[in-house]
Symmetry: D2
Subunit: 343 residues, 4 copies
């Protein structure tokens, strides 16, 4: 039995970790922390968990946390980097769902997140937790930097093209859209139902924090820097990210459908749809699956890839558990087998 | 391993049965029928099930169906009553999710459903599949009439009051609201997104088919006929039924909170919320739980009960599996343990 | 040309007043105040108003406000009662959209709103701005207390029954549901899209602040105190209130359809639907109309009335303008003729 | 007073024409046709119009229609081309909201719409009704081909760039998303609330009928053929189209914000937002406005344009009225001044 603790349990990725862990046969939740809600039973805040957890939120205490085998950080950026060293020192492993260790270039991180990095010495050690790319490194990692939600959907979509040098790397476009849960459980007017519902918009078109993370990943696939335009949009749905990716083919003779199917044939959580199908976010709702379609419109030199994930699962808490399964030598799909909720 | 077949697999209760059965360790799906989609892989119609089922839809054939241990009817009313005798004759047991065998008074059924009953000889034998009331009879039943979605939510809310003769039975009011999936997967203009979204309305205020079913149940709890006003409403959500029930107390000295908690203490799928809480449909989304609150406004002689279920789970396919578990001597919660999807 | 000012312009009723005033040929907006946004152009906060208003938000200043002919308060309760005396003293008239002057019993107000009333001397003078009941008093009023959103929908539904002593007054039930804009433009977690969307719940079943306001109105129609149970619910829509009202008929011989049609025949903003129809909130979206249906289920002794309004229009800003039109001798429908937005 | 008739009044563009015409002081609706609903009062089908129209649907009769000054076709493609010659012959003018006369290349039209064109002789005469481009030709036109919804949003976004030869024309990308009302008021399972709500997907990525229409327009702006990739998406909202457009700049020294503001300075229905703002669909809901933002991410050589319209207004019925105003010498904004409905 793996003992797991969760730092930052009052947000959507925290409650999602708990939801998924109910179905995981090899994990016991030892602690879940929240400074603001310390002492409150978890099920009082999240009635969906009534009957599943007797836990109360507790103050984050490195000693107590480090009694766990693994500590998940489901916190805003800046929190994990301050606590991770103490936890690693005590022998627990860490899976960080925040952005703290995702970007290998410290200065780049500090530029986009507008603060100094509190733990630069661990950046190089952190393993970027995208199993479809880094599975072997994940096995041995002490510290996992779980990919962001947009970055997961974009990287999985571009991966087969870039690995095979099939597209012009200086002109990649990622048009993505996320459900409102991606903005977190924070009291902001912009996230009110009356502001988001029955509407749609782009945001941060001039530059979003996930841009450098995505560009770093794409460059590693391509073996060289890439030129990426990334525009996120806000969807009036709760869960789901959909990315529509555009690139120019260098070689139009390749069977893209076959290429994508082959690349992901052994991946338990990437599903390449049949030619002609389009992924929809509801078809992955609540599950760790990423569904992908690839199309070459009018058989021209443009390729369009569409990918759909649940931002709280494959885009956050589910991917965190997938990493944990790999780290602890468990079957990779353990606890993640439940089908999506459709309709 | 129980072999199960599903008649009428293209509707929302059919796909929901499949979704839930993926997580059930003791059931194998032998066949799923659809006249219109015969030959089509199930996962082509419902991409959420890709990787979970290789089955194709097939023509309904009593001989083949009866090779199963249990046959679920997820069909419009009128279908089961025509096929059930042949299936029972061959030795399989039947769980009917439709309205065909819910009402014990044949004439009443025929009046509300505007057709002759094709199988009146089995009406008396059919067991009304509300485990919280009929658990013992369900164990031995050959034919289960699964309760309707509204009736489940209303009956579970009124049950403790009526069993204990605490309210005036001639003046019960059930104000219920259902998500659009309750209208089924049918191509009707009234169910279009552009018609339902961002709106709310009552419908069938003059008389809805679930009225006689609810009244029959409430009368059985009370031991005498009841006077019930039932008004259903259409919610712009996919899943969920919420009922707000009103009655006049005959005795205001009773501790209603304690009464409800005691009545449902041993029920795995009924959760009485703490005093002051209100159930919300999302807190049961995707699960078989019915959450209930009871309140006496301003300590007067009115009692208000609120109940929330997922219409496709406790209101249909989940309750069907709960019945199946009881019928086959399995733990009642088997395959139904996954927490609700929130947010 | 009437000069109008708005105090509290950053909320949903403030922007709705502006939206409606664009179409009003006889009103000029002189000022719109907001302490927090002072100096900001209105159209920067509400891009829907770009091109329609050059105004900036300004600090509330009684002298400047009183240069207007009429001052609207679109503020939380407690604000108007502190400023109204100074404005009336200077000769302007006031239409208060908040709850400050709605309840004639000062102690009752103070109990439900948990604060002392700052201006008890004006309570008696304030005219409750429900034109269908108080049209004559509104004409001469200096101070209008605009009805709440729930109270408007419930009172218009019960009015014909109570005026004619047709129902038992000790057992009235109002089951109401409101869109999320009713909670205002406030940064609260409970109002986030991810909390409200795709869900439904009751709230404040034990007692809501609109209860005493509704009960006061119903008692005035009946000529005696009433017993009312009122349960509000939160809808995952932006605009709209729907009330389903239940009462027991004292006389079942009355033609209720004819009664309702006659009562509202001359009312420009109350539309009694044909027998068998049900009002839906989208059919009044953006308009000042209240649509009503009345039904007697199974021809029994219960009457069910359904009413639908847009909570921001007939439930707030539209009704405020209707009052203003009456107060200034204008055609009552001036500026309020635009049809609802459907779909 | 202009007499107008509407052919095909039961769809969303038909009811939207009626909604808008209520506020138009110079138009009288003479007839509205529907074969299936002939004889039914319009307000029975669309309760939002109760009190505004006494009209009943009637059979389409060219003689009667041609008694009008202008006939709107709010019909599926194929209908107008069969009836327009008879109407023009009788002297009425025609504004066709369908796709019948939008594409000047007959063969191209026939390829994409999979049928022979029934009226090729009028294709050349038809004026493409995009006032921002064709205002002068519209004035004298007998037959207007109203632009499609996606084409309006994409063309207005690319127009300033292409007119000024600022971008590479062989690599234009239009990533668009539409509310469900764009699919019309048709009973299809794919358009059900339970299928569309709380989800998002691309569709027709391999080729959508609006592609040749958009490409034709863009080519006319550029003065040469363009290479366009167009991927439409389905939003879980009722109204609204948002397009995110990508192109590569040939010249990065141009002040794009100033260019866009200058191009649309005199256009009453195109609003260029301040730098840094993003258009949202709700900010144009119910209005004829197109809001546009332009951004150059990280000051690179890519330009991103975002545009938002209401698909039923600027994307259909509002633009039709704008054309009508131009054709009949009326102020272009007449009847179209009402602000958007926000929230």
């Amino acid at each position: 039995m793996i003992r797991a603790s969760i730092v930052g349990g009052t947000g959507y990725t925290g409650v999602e970790l708990l939801r998924l862990l109910v179905l995981h046969p090899e994990v016991e939740v030892a602690a879940i922390t929240s400074r603001s809600e310390s002492g409150l039973p978890v099920a009082d805040l999240f009635p969906s968990l009534r009957g599943h957890f007797d836990l109360c939120f507790s103050e984050p205490d490195p000693d107590r946390l480090a009694e766990s085998d693994v500590v998940f950080f489901a916190t805003p950026h800046g929190v994990a980097q301050a606590m991770v060293p103490e936890i690693l020192k005590r022998g627990a492993r860490v899976i960080d769902l925040s952005a703290d260790f995702r970007i290998q270039d410290q200065q780049l991180w500090e530029k986009w997140y507008s603060q100094s990095h509190a733990c630069p010495e661990l950046i190089a050690e952190a393993v970027y937790g995208l199993p479809e790319v880094n599975r072997e490194a994940i096995r041995e990692a002490r510290l996992i930097a779980c990919p962001g939600c947009y970055p997961t959907s974009v990287q999985l979509g571009f991966l087969p093209l870039l690995e095979n040098n099939l597209v012009a790397v200086d002109d990649l476009i990622a048009n993505s859209a996320s459900g409102a849960s991606g903005a977190g459980r924070q009291a902001k007017i912009d996230n009110l139902h009356s502001e988001v519902s029955d509407s749609f918009k782009a945001y941060a078109a001039g530059g979003h924090r996930h841009l450098p993370e995505i560009a770093q990943g794409l460059a590693s696939f391509a073996g060289k820097p890439v030129g990426l335009t990334f525009v996120p949009h806000l969807l009036p749905i709760v869960r789901g990210i959909h990315s529509t990716l555009y690139a120019t083919l260098l070689d139009t003779s390749v069977d893209l459908q076959a290429l994508f199917e082959a690349r992901y044939a052994d991946e338990p959580f990437v599903d390449v749809l049949p030619a002609g199908a389009h992924p929809q976010t509801r078809s992955v709702r609540g599950s760790n699956i990423c569904r992908i379609s690839v199309v070459r419109p009018q058989n021209g030199d443009k390729v369009v890839v569409m990918s759909a994930i649940d931002n709280l699962v494959k885009g956050a808490s589910g991917q965190a558990l997938q990493n944990m399964n790999i780290m602890f030598g468990l079957p990779e799909t353990l606890g993640l087998e439940a089908p999506p909720l459709l309709p």
